[in-house]
Symmetry: C2
């Protein structure tokens, strides 16, 4: 199996962390030069017509794109440790939190980066700076809300580390890339961030 990606980008990092938590180290990685626009060329579009990385190429030659769909595949073929829950209730709770984190933290900081930062060249063909900056505010609001949620909790979705923690850590890493740090007064979030950053998977 092979993953087509651009190492260092936050979407690919979500999958790399997921694999690291599972202890899966048998996957080959092939780089797609996204900053040079390779994701908009026919060779890549034949693997994913929607033009996003990462893309999983399975052993039988099928292509799966969308970060969480790729994670789901590995959760199914390699269930331990469970990162998406092991009961109907836990699965739903983790999916709820994964989507909340994705929408309020990950998508907002991505929108700020793509729409609100000038000079992205081939990465972005349309920008709406006001919308970009509005999403910076939405990201900041989401951190405050997450800090409140983490009061007395070790992880985001229940008692165990999960894909929701991965998405949040990658969102905060994304924000670091545009020079936004966690405000120090958000003590619960800071404590959680320090904790999950110390896991080996954070370096994946």
């Amino acid at each position: 199996m092979k993953i087509h990606e651009y190492n260092g980008f936050p979407g690919p990092r979500r999958v790399r962390m997921f694999l690291a938590e599972k202890g899966i180290d048998s996957i080959e990685f092939e780089q797609v030069d996204v900053p040079a626009g390779e994701h908009r060329k026919d060779t890549f579009l034949s693997k994913n017509p929607y033009g996003t990385v990462p893309v999983l190429e399975t052993a039988d030659g099928q292509y799966i794109s969308e970060t969480v769909a790729i994670c789901r595949y590995f959760e199914d073929v390699h269930p331990e440790p469970a990162l998406m829950g092991d009961t109907p209730q836990k699965k739903a709770e983790i999916e709820m939190w994964q989507r909340r984190v994705e929408q309020t933290m990950y998508d907002t900081i991505a929108t700020y980066f793509h729409q609100g930062t000038p000079g992205l060249g081939e990465l972005e063909t349309y920008q709406n700076a006001e919308w970009g900056h509005k999403n910076k505010e939405r990201y900041e609001d989401a951190l405050i809300r997450m800090d409140q949620h983490l009061e007395g909790k070790q992880y985001i979705a229940g008692d165990a580390y999960s894909v929701a923690d991965i998405t949040a850590l990658c969102a905060i890493g994304y924000a670091g890339f545009v020079n936004m740090a966690i405000p120090p007064e958000l003590e619960n979030l800071t404590r959680w961030h320090s904790d999950v950053s110390s896991r080996p998977s954070a370096a994946a």
Copy 2:
């Protein structure tokens, strides 16, 4: 079990259709007056601090929000017919398509509605009309792409009806609410739409 929702809105419709396809008719529905702002009041925020409908209240009094998380719960406790796949490969493929449809069709038309249509009152506290209209274009582009994908295919994700079809049908219904119809030259999409609209679940 009970679902807190606003009947007629597209998010709640996704869950209603999912339940109808499963043949689950034992759920109680309680209405939240979203147009009057009830989703921003403490009673509702105690169930879902993120303020969205629908919210599932389970038998043991826990609350699950996020449409797809609620669907996942019912998929697990009532697996037949499978709407999210029954093998690792199919699960990943359906999740990939569900997310593609959600991002390119559902989220775009929602953004056009929320940001691009004036006079929404309590429903929307911020609007960026240019971004709204950009998303109308993105929705239109997504329909063309989906029409191409549906060439020779009965359903969106593989051989069986799935949650990806539900999301797409609800997106197109959402577009109808803002007076946007499927362009008649998109013959594959029109044929698919006619087919899935004839299922009893479409009236849920």
